[in-house]
């Protein structure tokens, strides 16, 4: 029993990471209307940014902020240099370009920081025990960080004027445009937000495990799976679906083994697309 509860807790924390990735994917998919394959590598960039920031300043808070800013900057640069010019082209063009951008980011990071895995130099803390269940204080802090980031995103989306405009563009770009909403401003806000969210996910993942150039790319599939399960374009759905996939992955590990844990996202994705393509909470919108 204790074993399963510990798995559940681990699943919750990794589910929050997947949820953040899925949130970034679903925001871009909902507003810019293509699956952004550079999301994973933006994550990696966030982790390396935080690593460098932490090593330079000694403060994890500043490190994390540098990581998030780095992600936002890369998101904005990708939009300004590439995606903006492709906005009236087919989805394939955007998709292929996003793969290319991901590769460029990964190449830059591995040239700058090397291929070896790195870890954050943070002090080890003895886990707390409740009735035999081990809880790591660091996990709690990371979960709190993830929840705070989610709160910021949702507050931006639902409480601010720019958030309302973003949702308007997601609903109907043409209608938003004739209502006088500037598409460029919305896109700038979107890419800043999506980049920062992905980067925060990378920082959290890096703190829990190790930082390597491939870490983000490996999270891309679970992220897509969660975005699809939650219903494309549905931010709250993406987070809930991320939690579901995170927990399912951890709970399945004793049964199917460590390597097949990633394949689980693929299976989830297939089943959802077959049975309920609009996802758990999606609007009735055609994915077929």
């Amino acid at each position: 029993m204790v074993f399963w509860i510990e798995l559940l807790i681990a699943g919750l924390v990794s589910g929050l990471v997947i949820g953040l990735v899925a949130l970034s994917i679903t925001l871009v998919f909902g507003i810019a209307r293509f699956p952004n394959a550079a999301t994973g590598d933006t994550m990696t960039l966030g982790a390396y940014g935080a690593l460098a920031g932490h090593a330079a300043t000694g403060s994890m808070l500043i490190g994390g902020a540098i990581g998030a800013l780095g992600g936002a900057a890369v998101g904005l640069a990708a939009y300004a240099l590439v995606f903006r010019r492709l906005s009236n082209r087919s989805t394939v063009a955007l998709l292929v370009a996003s793969i290319g951008i991901g590769f460029i980011i990964r190449a830059g990071l591995s040239l700058a920081f090397g291929h070896t895995q790195q870890v954050f130099q943070v002090p080890l803390v003895r886990p707390w025990r409740f009735q035999g269940v081990r809880i790591h204080p660091n996990d709690l802090r990371l979960a709190a960080t993830a929840i705070a980031s989610l709160a910021v995103v949702f507050a931006t989306l639902y409480l601010t004027p720019i958030g309302r405009r973003m949702r308007a563009v997601a609903d109907d770009p043409a209608l938003a445009r004739v209502s006088g909403i500037s598409p460029v401003r919305v896109m700038v806000a979107l890419w800043l937000l999506a980049g920062a969210v992905a980067a925060v996910a990378g920082v959290i993942l890096g703190l829990r495990t190790v930082v390597s150039p491939e870490m983000g790319w490996e999270m891309l599939l679970p992220g897509f799976a969660a975005a699809i399960l939650g219903g494309i374009g549905n931010p709250a759905g993406a987070v809930v679906a991320g939690l579901i996939i995170g927990i399912a992955q951890e709970m399945a590990t004793p049964v199917v083994g460590f390597t097949y844990k990633i394949a689980l996202s693929f299976v989830v994705m297939l089943v959802v697309l077959l049975v309920r393509p609009r996802g758990l909470f999606g609007r009735v919108e055609g994915v077929r």
């Binding site: 998709l95 292929v96 590769f103 040239l111 390597t259 990633i262 994705m269 055609g286 994915v287």
Partner: protein, 296 residues
């Protein structure tokens, strides 16, 4: 030197086979296949396992590679061809990663991360050196020529007109009472079988396969080739693959010229160059080098 050129030519021809398969998928039918390496991997492992532990003749391995890769495409087609293009891309990407996970974990069959060594080379009877190398090149050329011939026949046939119509306007095809999904599944299986054959050639040529040779980067090498050459054109697939080979081998020579760059760093530079090529071609020359110059 001759041996080196023969080796490059063989690998280039294997990439041409892969590009032809992807041209069939994407260029002619519009299927965004991001998991091409999965079919390549299945073909390579099928041929390798049958000819080593299976003890079968090499020909059996080639047939099995084509059939198994083609069959693997069938469920993918059934599941996802009803989906919009971008979802299909994600599903195929997931497929190729899952294939790599399976060959990594099922050690009883694939020997896991250690891979399969000692795969017999083609035409070993002719002796090592030029005679066997030339024979391999001859067979590869013949297979490529057959694939190109098949392509031309296909494009001119009613089937070819149908798949191009699907690419251009799927709704119209449906309105004419044709079921696009059935055509797409056949195209998908055919292109996958080509990739499977390419995989069998690869396994027998390299002689040693490990799961790490089948990372998604390979899929995007092929994408880079067809995007550089010109999407939907056979000449584009061929020219693009040759350019790709030039790039892959050129980056190897670059290391001799530019000092202080390690093999690992070179791998990063290569990934970055692939990324840059994908972005720049999408931005500035979406029709590729062999594409129509009058249109943009």
């Amino acid at each position: 030197m001759e041996a080196y050129l023969a080796a490059i030519a063989a690998i280039a021809l294997i990439y041409v086979l892969l590009s032809l398969g992807l041209t069939l998928h994407y260029g002619l039918t519009g299927l965004i296949n991001f998991g091409h390496v999965g079919f390549f991997c299945i073909g390579a492992y099928a041929a390798a396992i049958l000819s080593t532990t299976g003890g079968m003749p090499i020909v059996v391995g080639f047939v099995a590679a084509a059939v198994l890769a083609g069959l693997a495409a069938w469920p993918i087609g059934l599941v996802s061809l009803r989906l919009r293009d971008d979802y299909f891309a994600i599903v195929t990407l997931g497929f190729s990663e899952t294939v790599r996970l399976v060959v990594t974990s099922e050690r009883w069959l694939t020997n896991g991360v250690q891979g399969i060594p000692g795969i017999p080379r083609l035409f070993e009877g002719l002796g090592v050196g030029m005679p066997s190398a030339l024979a391999i090149l001859g067979v590869l050329l013949a297979v490529n020529a057959a694939a190109v011939w098949l392509f031309f026949r296909l494009v001119k046939s009613p089937f070819g007109r149908m798949i191009e119509a699907i690419r251009d306007n799927e709704e119209a095809v449906r309105a004419l009472g044709k079921d696009p999904a059935r055509f797409k599944i056949r195209v998908l299986m055919l292109g996958a079988a080509l990739a499977g054959i390419a995989g069998a050639f690869y396994a027998h040529y390299i002689g040693y396969i490990v799961p790490d040779q089948f990372i998604p980067l390979v899929t995007f090498y092929v994408w880079m080739a067809i995007i550089m050459g010109g999407v939907g054109r056979i000449s584009g697939a061929i020219v693009g693959s040759l350019l790709l080979m030039l790039f892959l081998e050129g980056s190897r020579f670059l290391r001799d010229v530019v000092p202080f760059i390690s093999a690992v760093d070179m791998a990063s530079v290569r990934i970055g160059a692939v990324g840059l090529a994908l972005v720049l071609f999408t931005l500035y020359r979406p029709q590729g080098l062999m594409g129509d110059y009058t249109r943009r």
